[in-house]
Amino acid sequence: MPYTKRRRLVRTAVAIALGATTLAACGSESADSDTESGPASLTYWTWTPGMDKVVDLWNKGPGKKDRITVTVKKQASGDTLVTKILTAHKAGKAPDLVQAEYQALPTLVSNDALADISKTVGEAEDKFADGVWQQTTLGTDAVYAVPQDIGPMMFYYREDLFKEYGLTVPTTWDEFAEIARKLKKAAPGKDLTTFSANDSGLFAGLAQQAGAKWWTTSGDQWKVSINDAATRKVAKFWGGLVKEGAIDNQPMYTPAWNKALNTGKQIAWVSAVWAPGTLTTAAPDTKGKWAMAPLPQWSASDNSTGSWGGSSTAVTTDSKHRAAAAKFAAWLNTDGKALNALAKESGIYPAASNAQTSGAFLKPPAYFANQADFYTKAADIAETTAPAAWGPNVNVAYTTFKDAFGAAAKSKSDFGAALDEMQADTVADMKKQGFEVAE
């Protein structure tokens, strides 16, 4: 990611906010007047399937009235899109609107790619849970995006097999470990679940639940605490289970993993609200046999979850019609009609709280037809999402996670060392990029 190397230009989130405000002030005259009067034609980079149909609703409805037309340009998701946006921004050619995962926002903001749209979308704040909204402000007064979808984490398990082996649904992680051991004793060929290092979002979400805050700012310095006590606890827990062989150590999303879920070799999965979609393709034969429960807690009195996945709609600084673009972003993610269409066409789980139990979410997903209150339960869980703390080089931390934890899981060795490696790599990269990092 050569484009994140903006030396010392942007030191802290606060400085970023100031910088963006000044920039916004420079361009505000043209931007603001454009909304009220002139027609605006906006481009929107998104990977959400079916988004063109949702945008059609805007172009034929509110967009027509305001003469704001949005064109969808479908992209591939992931870190590569962030690079592409930054490359385009370098040439001043970034689209007006982009879809961005929450953990990518600090990277985009520290490259001055995202505009502060607090003036236009500020009042949307109360439609979202605090923990969700906070991810788009980066702890400043600015607002860099409107939340679109979220991925609150949950515990999925095979209801029938849990009954067969006399297992109870775990409410704490200690119980989770005991159940894993109990199952291993009853059926040595089976595993409760696996620890997979090929999706860093899972581990980040688990750490978030435990109360970890990987990136924070104090004064004009960043503080990186990937190897803090909370994360260490999570790493030790999973590393211990892998080491004693209570759970599997094979990665997820492989054909072997699909097969393990489909044949009941693995009988539970720590995942997020979007799991039904994945299970539909991974384990088609076990439809209707799964159930969802809240994530186990670290102590019986806790009630929190992490998030895995989720994205937002942001306006770029290259946009000549920022206010118009922000207006569309707010409509897309708060308007009832738009959210209904997003749920129907794209299958997303909305970030807006009131949409989580209406429209398409009155009925459980087809795969979970046996659990009628799936989405009511999901909405309750979503409300308990712990705050996230992302930094400007999440991609580096994630890459090291995959390498270090992947190797540690494979060799069943110490997860603590892998965690330290992740911390060291992340700090080194931030320093290289010119950020001030507190030791």
Binding site: W47, K74, G78, T87, A91, N258, W274, G277, G310
Partner: protein
């Protein structure tokens, strides 16, 4: 492409024991090793191809649940789903790839032929320097140039257009290099001299006399460049944002990366990848005779 490379080596592998037959039996036993090695290599290259072919016949339900090399029943369904995806945008990608690769390779072959011919035939100041710069270009992976090219084309307001993918791929240093070598070997100086004596213009000599002699070499350049453009990912990825202009490589990537909450469309990607290789296979089969001509002419000369 790998499968085709294997096709090429197969006759060689087969002929090794053939020639060994005339020799004493001791030599024959030694030839077993290379044969086995090559067969293993062929297997290594062909197994993934076989996997793609078989996986493309499986429906979404069968893909991960049935035995890997057991053909499925969903091939027609997969093609139907692929054609239906976003109103048949897949075939649009296929058409785009054909345009980028076909037109791009044709233009770059023309440029290579002219420049290679000029470098081989004419003596002028700085010719070797120019050629060396070109050689440096051969060593430079095109991936490095993608971002600077994007920034350059952004200045000319050409990004996100068909031209933005075509233009950077027209100059193909390796093609110019091959064309020079080939022209130097295939076009005798006497023939050009004779043409000049008869009063033909330089352009006429090039198009009527030299070019026909260079055809086999140019077919090679065309093929190389066609495959390179067909398989190119990074340049179109950076240049294009409108998915109706995407080539097949980018299109398949978007099918795979649908976002965390949407499962990847594996069956569509696998079927799409299989179909995307077919034009390359067809092209190689059709143009292969020019190639054997090329190899033959080289053999006769030596």
């Amino acid at each position: 492409m790998s499968s085709l490379a294997v096709h090429q080596t197969e006759p060689v592998a087969g002929s090794t024991p053939g020639t060994a037959q005339d020799r004493p039996p001791l030599r024959r036993r030694i030839a077993l090793m290379p044969t086995v090695t090559l067969l293993l290599g062929a297997l290594y290259c062909l197994l993934p191809v076989a996997w793609v072919v078989i996986a493309a016949t499986k429906s979404g339900r069968e893909l991960f649940s049935t035995f890997t090399f057991l053909p499925g029943t969903g091939f027609a369904g997969n093609i139907r789903d692929l054609s239906a995806y976003r109103d048949g945008v897949y075939w649009q990608w296929m058409g785009n790839s054909a345009l980028y690769a076909g037109l791009g390779a044709l233009l770059s072959t023309c440029v290579s032929a002219i420049s290679g011919y000029a470098l081989a035939i004419y003596r002028f100041r700085g010719r070797e320097t120019l050629f060396n710069v070109l050689l440096a270009g051969v060593l430079m992976p095109p991936v490095i140039l993608a971002v600077p090219q994007y920034l350059l084309l952004a200045k000319a307001d050409l990004t996100d257009s068909y031209l933005s993918v075509l233009l950077p791929q027209i100059l193909f240093p390796y093609g110019v290099y091959l064309a020079r070598i080939y022209a130097a070997a295939a076009v005798p100086a006497d023939v050009i001299e004779a043409g000049r004596m008869d009063g033909a213009s330089e352009w006429r000599i090039f198009t009527r006399i030299a070019l026909p002699m260079m055809i086999p070499g140019m077919v090679t350049v065309f093929l190389f460049q066609f495959v390179a453009i067909w398989n190119n990912f990074l340049l179109p990825y950076i240049m294009l944002s409108d998915d109706e202009k995407f080539p097949i490589t980018l299109g398949l990537f978007t099918l795979l990366e649908q976002g965390a909450n949407t499962p990847a469309l594996y069956t569509l990607v696998i079927t799409g990848a299989l179909l995307a290789v077919l034009p390359l296979v067809a092209l190689f089969l059709v143009i292969q005779r020019f190639w054997s001509l090329d190899l033959l002419s080289g053999a006769v000369k030596s």
